[in-house]
């Protein structure tokens, strides 16, 4: 019973060793020039300490809205990718083209947002 878990333990062990190895080697060998900006919790992000009722810039919401839309469309690509080989042998190349049409429509939306300046930060 326990033998079947050995590969998992191996992976966990490797992950721990690798993660700490990378961290330690970068502190050991890398150049260190700390500034106050660099050593804050979220570098070039929000200030970690302050009032919790602070208003967030409206730009964050714009990015959040666009992220939700383009992120969620991927859920249609996953099942397609999983079933692709089976569908390809049954229906043929049109399986590929139907997803291509979907992605082209999505890209047009992306292009629209880009040209309208939806991603412009300033």
């Amino acid at each position: 019973m326990i033998e079947s878990y050995i590969p998992i333990f191996l992976v966990i062990g490797f992950a721990i060793v690798f993660a700490f190895g990378v961290l330690l080697s970068s502190t050991a060998f890398g150049p260190q020039r700390p500034t106050s900006e660099k050593s804050s919790t979220y570098e070039s992000g929000m200030k970690p300490v302050g009032t919790t009722r602070e208003r967030v810039s409206i730009k964050y919401y714009m990015v959040a809205m666009l992220f939700i839309i383009f992120d969620i469309e991927v859920i249609f690509v996953y099942p397609w990718a999983v079933q692709f080989k089976k569908l390809f042998s049954e229906v043929g190349i049109s399986v590929f083209y139907s997803m291509l049409v979907f992605l082209v429509v999505l890209e047009l939306g992306y292009l629209y947002v880009y040209k309208k300046g939806g991603f412009r930060w300033d």
Binding site: I58, A64, M65, L66, I69, I72, I75, P79
Partner: protein, 101 residues
């Protein structure tokens, strides 16, 4: 051990009613919207429970569509709420009342 389908249905009905109560009692537009999302998710839970109970995949497929549509609704809802906030500086839906006869 198989969990009976009734458990899922009762849980999702409970979630659905919580959503309705939230919509009817809360006054902040964002929280009302979160309650609506809770209603949609209770429907998703029902779909998935039935799909696994009956062993067909239509329910799971429907959940994908509901999720995508909910995302689109969330985006447009946030946009509407933002536009209102820029003009009115409030999210309380009781104060949004200039259209009355």
């Amino acid at each position: 051990m198989q969990i009976p389908i009734e458990y899922y249905l009762i849980l999702s009905a409970f979630m659905f009613i919580m959503g309705i109560v939230g919509v009817l009692t809360r006054r902040n537009a964002i929280i009302v919207f979160m309650s609506i999302e809770l209603m949609l998710n209770s429907a998703n839970l029902t779909f998935v429970a039935f799909a696994s109970y009956m062993g067909n995949t239509i329910g799971q497929l429907f959940v994908f569509f509901v999720m995508a549509v909910a995302a689109a609704e969330a985006a447009i809802g946030l946009a509407i709420i933002l536009a209102l906030f820029r003009n009115k500086m409030t999210l309380n839906i009781d104060e949004v009342n200039i259209l009355k006869w």
